[in-house]
Amino acid sequence: MLMGKSISIPDRWSMFFKQLIKEIYKLGVDSLWIVVIISVFIGTVIAIQISLNISSPLIPKFTIGYTTREIILLEFSSSIMALILAGKVGSNIASEIGTMRVTEQIDAMEIMGVNSANFLILPKMLGLMIFIPVLVIFSMFTGIMGGIFASYSTSTGMTPSSFEYGLQFYFNEFYIWYSIIKSVVYAFIISSIAAYFGYNVKGGALEVGKASTNAVVMSSIMILLADVILTHLMLT
């Protein structure tokens, strides 16, 4: 029901676009720094750990770059990043809408004749769905840069040239699209679940906190479930 109320034609398009831009900035652009930091470090660590675990002389060194790329493109930049964003963005959405509910700001909108669900939720959902591919691309790029950095700076046996060769080895462009499509679904899951928990808060500050926690937990579970389903649908 809430979804039906949210996904409807906005009362005024100019206000909707204003909100959309605000949400893209708040939920997307403001998340760039955390995406970049986590991706660089995880990319570095993945490369180091793979190089430490591949000690057999029968396995070529470029496998380190190849495996790092596959992990980052297939799973890290979309699914793991979505789990991180569920914590940052999901809790933000749930607590913001929840606070508006308990302080009667949503009632104030309803009294004015504004479709509060549409005004508050739709721009958040669309904003995150529009911007999450940008976050995924940034995550892929910076994650791989982290791996390259590791190849230059560690003495675990991998060389920059073998790592770069591995990055280019048997590259499948579809994996990028696969990751982006998954992330858009995750963005929908994060924003809609968080909005649902926030919008239906009853009580005070304690309940807003609980709603925020529940939103993150539920989004994380749904992301993992969606990951399995989408991987089956798109890769098998």
């Binding site: 009362d11 005024r12 100019s14 206000m15 606070t99 508006m100 302080t103 009667e104 700001q105 009632d107 104030a108 309803e110 009294i111 004015m112 004749g113 504004v114 479709n115």
Partner: protein, 256 residues
Amino acid sequence: MIEVKNITKSFDGRAVLKDISTTFEDGKTNLIIGRSGSGKTVMIKNIIGLMKPDTGQILYDGRDLITMNKHELNMLRREMGMLFQGSALFDSMTVMENVMFPLDMFSKDSTKERRKRAEFCLERVNLSEAGHLYPSEISGGMMKRAAIARAISLNPKYLFCDEPNSGLDPKTSLLIDDLIHDITVEYNMTTVINTHDMNSVMNIGDNIIFIKEGVKEWQGTKEQVITSNNQALNDFIFASDLFRKVKEVEMLQEEG
């Protein structure tokens, strides 16, 4: 004019409103008074359509709120202004943006005209200098005034106030009361105020409805409150020493 006809409301089998009927007239400040938990908030929420009564009718100039479809209800709501207990200003917007919000959403005027209207409303509540501030940067009294400015920005026919004086000092409360009363008369609005502030009752109560345990116990004007013989009303009104003394003086004057 708003007519409430035989409304009842129950929660989990417990009756909160029991067959209440009353009329709120244009250009008057109508007060709903009663103890905490007597059903005042439930009644005002039913009147504005945030809750649906189990039975009865709520007529806005003859239009029944209960039987309205979503579109009709939204149209009616654009004729309403509401002042919430906690002001309910939007935290993410400045005072000016808050007042502009209903205009931006529904007014067909140009941006310049909308801004002019918002500035007029802020000026009307003596808040012109605070337009650029966020709700967290202003006092409780200023928040109430900003909420009044937002409520009147679309020239509503009906104004609802839920505990407008809660959390305010007596002087600021009087200021808010006077402002609501003046606006009501100025724009010939139907104003309904939910309160347990006796200063408001004595100051602006053109029409007072006293509710006790979900039942309309008494209805009259502020002048009639003092002389009423209704025991439940007297117990409520004259619980304060100050008002008891006011009544004693009134009685002495009448006798003398």
